[in-house]
């Protein structure tokens, strides 16, 4: 007899529960909590088999050995990964719908503190549009194109609990996340019914595993640099203003010889670098009965201004406890605190402020002025941005607690019941102080200081009750879920403000220290509820043929009683061809075909959308000039309003090659919305005080999601790559009578033109305006720009003005000549992530690209026209048309702009917005030696460079409601380039 013993580890960690078996016998044992075992062997020439689910089984000849210790290699083939789907889980192989997965470790490679931004390019079919570089900004997430004009924010589900509408992922500590699943098609999302039309993002947090306590500490510190937009200096600015006036026959306002000083407003307002910090401590472990994970994390990022930062502290405790063999308790607890010093938005002012104006008024003129009134006023009426930053006192504090409790009872080995309660409390406090200042009476001033405080309190709960059945009969496997859920949300707010603080000191910035007459109080409550019945059946035969169907019935408080309930169905199927006996392609390791159909709803409308709203105001009557109350209608209601429904068809293949070293998945979808909700602008003569919410028709969105993965180990090299490529096109398929042109994005500077149009059969939300055809070089060209009947199209034009195309050739330039001038949607967008490990060295690179999209560069209006005497981009004086610069593309300078160069929306403002951006580059080095601890050091750079022809500040733009805002560059805090130094400690 021979005794062997040893320790089984995985990744250096002791692994309990590993089976050690003498081959061909029933003689065996399992490892204990320290991963150790002892086994007496019986055979002559024994072979030992070490196995554990999820790891590669190893056979070792034991003859003559007393110790066999192993580090097991994980054996998770892609298809056996467990995927969390709505109200349940399934293996990846069983999935018949379209789901993208992002691993938590990939998210933490981006040191941004904000989970959704890290997802960019990692999940196929998911478009993440940056919310700008300001601290705590939240990006927009767009899953598979646009079929709604409402918010495109997907439903967020954290550990089985659906969060209230309007939630974003900012609150999560990225290090707490195990993985994220994005449910993209209707057959996956239908089980979430009315809340799922924008897709569903399921976040699963990390949980403790049995074994010794593991401690992880990570810290990183980074600096965000900002690209400085270059604008004209005082001399150039004065030349631009003079030339504008001279071209119009007006006196030149500036004598260039007197200009000696120039203010660089960007330098005065923005700092070159701002810091970003992350700290995270995590402890996890457990015994047979109890597993735990506990973490605490802190993030802080600053703005580039004197004011503005965001900090977030989160804690998390996740506990799994087996009360008995059949009864299991999960309890998660996630308190958090967030604090913003709100970043003043001075981007526009800084660029437009004239450089002739100094920052401060001379010292001898400051007498009698308070500290906020010592700033100089600009002649171009832009408010002094340095002054604006210094008097910005606006802070927001958020306190929140999320609790998630699940109790599961296994009635038999195939039937279980569970009940989950998710509770979410949040309180936001906003404090604003507006100091009194007078830079110029009645122009740049605030006559009374004021203090305002606002409290928001919200509470929501989700209660899910499920019965699950899962059983295999031979080759048949059936999986069924039925459930009942209830969701409730309520929010309250209370706001008060009052004028005149007694003393201008921080300790008096509270309502109790105010004395003024102007007192305001506001408050309200809103609540909504959702009640649902749901069911799903999944069946497969021999892991080859899969079908799945789901049903959900939703009742929502947001609709009138008659319309409260709706039903949603889905059906999908898949066929794993590679499991068929006839399938025998040596290099193809997996091939699955799938198809699905599903319906979802969109209840995401303001609760008051179908009401006529009335507001009150004041007027005066009588000898004593008494104030009387007035009522006026402020919104036209629409009693016929219905909810929007979306249904889609998805077909796809999933395949693996060369033992899944290469994986490829391709999905094609057609998604159609019905009864699309759109805020339409009625003709002005209706006297409607607001846009009116209407069901205007149907949008159809089609696209391809392609994802190509590569994983291999070559010697000491571990290589992996993931490329995603997506196309999408959304068109207006049907539009209700009277709504055959959906116009949006009205801009005063362009004569109240609408810059966006949606027309039947065309791509939604295209850019709208006049087509230009270069600049007139001389009067002859102006005279020859006429209609067939000889009428001059632009009689007021002068050489150097834009030539606009007279589309209907009637000799007049008017509304009939407006046309489509650009498409904001890309031909495709793509992500590429490459990572490599060589021994102790690791390397990651992440790219993102958007190709073929146009951007409406609204900033060009100010930057190249000087309208309103605002400052212009550097070098403009040499770029504008003059007789000596006839090749210019920028029209001549003019004050009155008789030709309307800058009074019309035109293709002059539309540019190719394609770009490719290196989102992240990281190099790390791991030191293993120190007392079993593992130390990893890394440097990373984010947004290192961008390849683009776009002339604006950042091609990654979006603003406003999604169709209407998509591709509009209104100029905002640009993306920053970040350099980070980090440390991970594991022991």
């Amino acid at each position: 007899q021979q005794q062997i013993s040893g320790t089984i580890t995985a990744d250096g960690e002791p692994l309990p529960g590993v089976t050690i078996l003498e081959e061909g016998t029933t003689n065996g044992t399992i490892t204990d909590i320290e991963g150790t075992y002892t086994l007496n062997l019986q055979g002559e020439d024994p072979m030992v088999v070490v196995s554990m689910v999820g790891f590669k089984t190893t056979r070792i000849a034991a003859k003559g050995r007393v110790e066999i210790s192993l580090d097991l290699e994980e054996d998770v083939t892609d298809l056996e990964e467990v995927v969390v789907i709505g109200y349940g889980t399934a293996t990846k192989k069983e999935i018949t719908s379209s789901i993208s997965t992002v691993k938590g470790e990939d998210l933490t490679k981006m040191t941004v503190g904000n989970v959704s931004e890290s997802m960019q390019g990692l999940a196929s079919g998911v478009q993440v549009i940056s919310g700008g570089g300001g601290p705590g900004a939240s990006p927009q997430i767009l899953i598979r194109g646009i079929v709604t004009n409402r918010s495109t924010a997907p439903l967020i589900v954290v550990d089985g609990v659906a969060l209230p509408q309007g939630s974003n992922l900012n609150f999560l500590n990225p290090s707490d996340i195990e993985n994220i699943q994005v449910l993209k098609d209707g057959s996956a999302t239908s089980i979430y019914g009315t809340r799922a039309s924008n897709g569903v993002i399921i976040v699963n947090t990390k949980r403790g595993k049995s074994g010794e306590a593991k401690v992880t500490f990570s810290a990183s510190y980074g600096l965000k640099g900002l690209d400085k937009p270059e604008v004209a200096d005082a001399n150039e600015y004065a030349r631009v203003v003079n030339q504008r006036a001279a071209n119009d026959g007006l006196p030149e306002p500036y004598d260039l010889s007197t200009i000696t000083e120039s203010t660089d407003w960007w330098e005065e307002v923005y700092k070159d670098y701002a810091s970003v910090e992350n700290y995270n401590l995590q402890v996890s472990g457990g015994s047979e009965k109890l597993n735990y994970l506990s973490s605490v994390a802190y993030h802080k990022s600053k703005s580039h201004l004197e004011k503005g930062y965001w900090e977030r502290a989160t804690g998390r405790v996740n506990i799994d406890y087996s009360i008995s063999d059949k009864l299991f308790l999960q309890q998660d607890f996630n308190p958090r605190y967030e604090h913003w010093e709100n970043t003043p938005n001075q981007f526009w002012s800084t660029l437009r402020m004239d450089p002739l104006t100094p920052v401060y008024i001379p010292i001898d003129e400051r007498q009698g002025r308070n500290e906020y009134s010592i700033y100089a006023r600009s002649n171009n009426y832009v408010w002094n941005p340095v002054g604006a930053v210094n008097r910005s006192f606006n802070e927001t504090h958020f306190f929140g607690v999320f609790s998630n409790t699940n109790l599961e009872y296994d009635i038999t080995d195939f039937l279980s019941v569970s009940s989950r309660i998710g509770l979410n409390f949040g309180q936001t406090r906003n404090e604003v102080f507006n100091p009194k200042f007078v830079i110029e009476p009645n122009l740049e001033e605030n006559q009374q200081s004021s203090v305002a405080t606002r409290f928001d309190q919200n509470f929501s709960y989700v209660w899910n009750n499920l019965i699950k059945f899962e059983k295999s009969y031979g080759k048949h496997k059936l999986n069924a879920t039925v459930g009942y859920t209830a969701e409730y949300y309520q929010g309250h707010y209370l706001r008060g403000s009052r004028s005149d603080i007694i003393l201008n000191d921080e300790k008096f910035r509270y309502l109790d220290a105010t004395t003024g007459e102007s007192i305001q109080a506001q408050g309200n409550m809103n609540a909504n509820s959702l009640m649902s019945y749901l069911g799903r059946v999944m069946y497969n035969y021999d892991q080859r043929y899969f079908i799945s169907g789901s049903y959900r019935r939703d009742g929502s408080s947001r609709f009138p009683v008659a319309n409260q309930w709706a039903n949603f169905f889905s059906a999908s199927a898949a066929w794993d061809i590679s499991s068929e006996s006839f399938f025998n392609l040596p290099f193809v390791s997996g091939l699955k075909l799938k198809a699905g159909f599903g319906q979802v709803g969109n209840q995401n409308i303001p609760s008051s959308a179908f009401l006529f709203l009335v507001s009150d105001g004041s007027y005066v009557f009588g000898e004593n000039e008494d104030r009387v109350i007035t009522n006026q209608i402020t919104q036209f209601g629409n009693s016929n309003l219905q909810w929007e429904t979306v249904q889609d068809i998805n077909v796809g293949i999933e395949s693996g090659f060369m033992n899944d070293k290469l994986t490829l998945s391709v999905d094609y979808y057609v998604k159609e919305s019905k009864d699309l909700l759109f805020a339409t602008t009625l003709p002005l003569y209706t006297g409607s005080p607001s846009d009116i919410m209407q069901n205007v028709g149907s949008f159809e969105s089609k696209g391809l999601d392609i994802s190509l993965g590569y994983n291999d180990k070559i010697g000491d090299w571990q290589l992996s790559a993931l490329a995603t490529l997506n196309t999408n096109e959304s068109r207006a398929k049907a539009l209700a009578p009277g709504n055959d042109q959906l116009l949006a994005q009205k801009q005063a500077v362009f004569g109240n033109s609408f810059l966006k149009i949606t027309e039947l059969g065309k791509v939604v939300g295209l850019f709208y305006g006049y087509e230009t055809d270069g600049l007139f070089q001389n009067q002859t060209e102006i005279n020859s720009h006429s209609s067939d009947n000889g009428k001059l199209v632009q009689p007021a034009a002068q050489p150097g003005d834009m030539k606009f195309v007279d589309q209907n050739n009637d000799g007049e330039l008017n509304e009939e000549d407006l046309t489509i001038i650009g498409n904001p949607f890309p031909d495709f967008y793509a992500g590429l992530n490459v990572s490599a490990t060589y021994k102790n060295l690791d390397f990651t690179m992440q790219w993102y690209a958007s190709v073929g999209n146009d951007v409406y560069n609204y900033m060009k209006y100010f930057q190249t026209s000087g309208a309103g005497e605002t400052n212009v981009r550097k070098g403009l004086i040499d770029e504008v048309w003059t007789e000596s610069n006839p090749d210019a593309t920028i029209p001549r300078l003019t004050v009155t702009d008789q030709n309307g160069n800058f009074k019309r929306s035109s293709d002059y403002f539309v540019e190719d917005g394609s770009y490719a951006r290196l989102k992240n580059l990281q190099v790390g080095y791991t030191i293993n030696s120190l007392n079993a601890a593992k130390i990893r050091l890394y440097v990373s750079g984010q947004n290192l460079f961008t390849i683009t022809k776009y002339s604006g500040f950042d091609p990654e733009v979006s603003s406003g409601g999604i169709i209407n805002g998509y591709g509009m560059d209104f100029g905002r805090y640009p993306m920053s380039r970040t350099f980070v130094l980090g440390l991970d400690l594991n022991f």
Binding site: A245, G249, L250, P251, N379, Y381, P441, N442, L443, Q447, Q448, A486, Y488, E517, S518, N526, A527, N528, S529, M531, S556, S557, Q564, S607, L611, V614, G617, S618, V620, G622, E623, E625, R627, V628, I629, T630, N631, Q632, F636, L682, P683, L684, Y685, T686, G687, S688, D740, L743, G751, N752, S753, A796, N814, E815, E816, L818, G868, V895, Q898, G900
Partner: protein
């Protein structure tokens, strides 16, 4: 179970919930009054000033701030059809009409005193007529909407502009109804001072007839107001635009103000026309051409009550002995005295966004001159002269009682300018008054216009010639075939895909 889904919208009453008592009906009627001056939102009612800038009485004025959107309209120099001023003014008149339509339609569903109901209805009709009046005199024919229900039908999107005559018919009928339903000024309780009266409805009806050249009807209707004995001229012209004399004996209809920053009540014209050195914005400043008109007439009383000049004392404000009109920033270095608040009546702290001065829209002198003009054209020169004399007597001017024919007509027209200057009437007078079928605006503006010639050839005004950042040639590009009406807002034409047609030549 069903209760769980019952979550009403809080704090937002539905229309039927709130439109349910006499008090709420009154509040809606008050809301229609609040719409007369576009809720005193300066960005909207600034348009009213632009109309004065587009005459010989005012310059655009502010030469510091570059605002081509204002300048090009004021100068008739490529008038911008996309201007926000046109768009908002157009939209806000229709918003006012909608408020009135709602009141007229819904009031019958509420149960309260019939007399009061009739008065409210009269007020709503009076106000609706005023909104249409504002539209027709600026834009010509417009879509006509007289009920609230039609707004909710899909056909509302098919509406087109109706001929001017149709709009006038609506205005006349509303004013006739209002005159029937409304009490006299003297019949109102003192707490209701400022509401629409029978006299106001009749005065506007007279004006509506005058605009349509229905001379006899205009004279007859004006005469009804005169014989009612409800109104008289202020003894002193100083008291017409006086912050201490709200709703004076001469006032027929005026917008009611008090200075109340808390509830944002108060006028803004005193600010937008005020001197930059006095917390104002220096827009719509009086021309030297207007000043000359007073000087030629020897009309010192109205001159000092109409124009404040740089470097001179402010009449009626003993604390200002040398007024600073902001020379370099103000085209003419003159300021409108009518909207000026004397120092002693300013609140402390002075809140220049909420001025207490009521804004007079219709006064007895205007009505007398309507009567005089209509009488003249109706062939009753004696009556015309008598009323002209009344207006001139008050400001110590003698009247040549031998005037007749075109000379009398011209004297009445000149009197309207001198009496009503800077009160936002001038443009519409110049548009409707015709010599040999040619609107007078075409003789004032245009390359040969009297105002253009004055500025480019005759003027010796040191202030105006010393500040050329606003061009002296204002109005030279006036085109009578185009500029006799303002353009329909560009966005309205786009929104209706051209169903609402543009005015000629824009």
């Amino acid at each position: 179970c069903e209760d769980f889904l019952d979550e009403p919208v809080r704090s937002k009453p539905t229309l039927t919930e709130i439109f349910s008592s006499q008090e709420s009906v009154e509040a809606f009627v008050n809301g229609a009054y609040d719409g007369i001056m576009e809720n005193d939102w300066w960005q909207i009612n600034f348009f009213r000033q632009i109309t004065d800038m587009a005459t010989d009485d005012c310059w655009a004025g502010n030469t510091e701030q570059s605002r081509p959107d204002i300048l090009t309209i004021a100068h008739y120099d490529n008038v911008d059809v996309g201007s926000t001023y046109f768009m908002n003014f157009w939209n806000y008149q229709f918003r006012g009409i909608t408020r009135c339509n709602l009141i007229i339609q819904e009031m019958d569903n509420v149960d309260f005193d019939e007399d009061l109901k009739n008065r409210y209805k009269g007020e709503a009709k009076f106000l609706r007529a005023r909104f249409y009046f504002e539209l027709v005199k600026n834009f010509g024919g417009v879509p006509i909407i007289t009920t609230f229900d039609e707004l909710l039908k899909s056909e509302i999107r098919e509406y087109v502009r109706q001929p001017e005559a149709e709009v006038w018919a609506v205005i006349e009928q509303d004013l006739i109804d209002a005159a029937e339903l409304l009490p006299l000024k003297s019949e109102y309780a003192s707490k209701d001072l400022g509401r629409a009266t029978k006299g106001a409805a009749q005065a506007y009806l007279a004006k509506a007839y005058l605009f349509q050249e229905k001379w006899q009807e205009a004279a007859d209707m004006a005469n009804e107001v005169i014989t009612s004995g409800e109104y008289q001229l202020e003894t002193s012209f100083d008291d017409v635009w006086s912050v201490t004399n709200p709703n004076g004996v001469e006032s027929i209809f005026e917008v009611q103000y008090r200075s109340d920053p808390t509830f944002r009540i108060g006028g803004v014209f005193g600010v937008t026309t005020g001197s930059r050195e006095d917390g104002g914005w220096s827009w719509c400043v009086p021309t030297s051409n207007l000043e000359q008109a007073y000087l030629e007439e020897g009309d010192n009383i109205r001159l000092r009550n109409t124009i404040i000049k740089h470097g001179e004392p402010v009449y009626g404000d003993p604390e200002v002995t040398e007024f600073d009109a902001g020379l370099s920033r103000n085209k003419s270095a003159r300021i409108n005295r009518k909207f000026y608040i004397p120092t002693e009546y300013r609140e402390t702290p002075y809140s220049p966004r909420n001025l207490p001065l009521n804004h007079i829209l219709m006064r007895y002198a205007d009505l007398l001159l309507i009567y005089a003009e209509a009488s003249h054209f109706a062939g009753n020169e004696g009556e015309a002269l008598a009323k002209l004399k009344m207006v001139r007597d008050r400001v110590n001017l003698t009247t040549d009682m031998s005037l007749t024919g075109d000379a009398l007509r011209d004297a009445i027209w000149k009197e309207r300018r001198l009496e009503l200057a800077l009160e936002q009437h001038r443009l519409y007078d110049l548009r409707r008054q015709k010599v040999n079928g040619v609107p007078r605006i075409a003789t004032v503006m245009g390359p040969e216009g009297s105002f253009v010639k004055y500025n480019t050839q005759e003027s010796t005004d040191e202030f105006e010639l010393g500040n050329l950042r606003e061009k002296q040639s204002k109005g030279a590009t006036f085109d009578v075939d185009k500029h006799i009406l303002w353009p329909i807002p560009h966005s309205e034409i786009v929104l209706t895909e051209g169903r609402i047609e543009q005015n000629p030549n824009y």
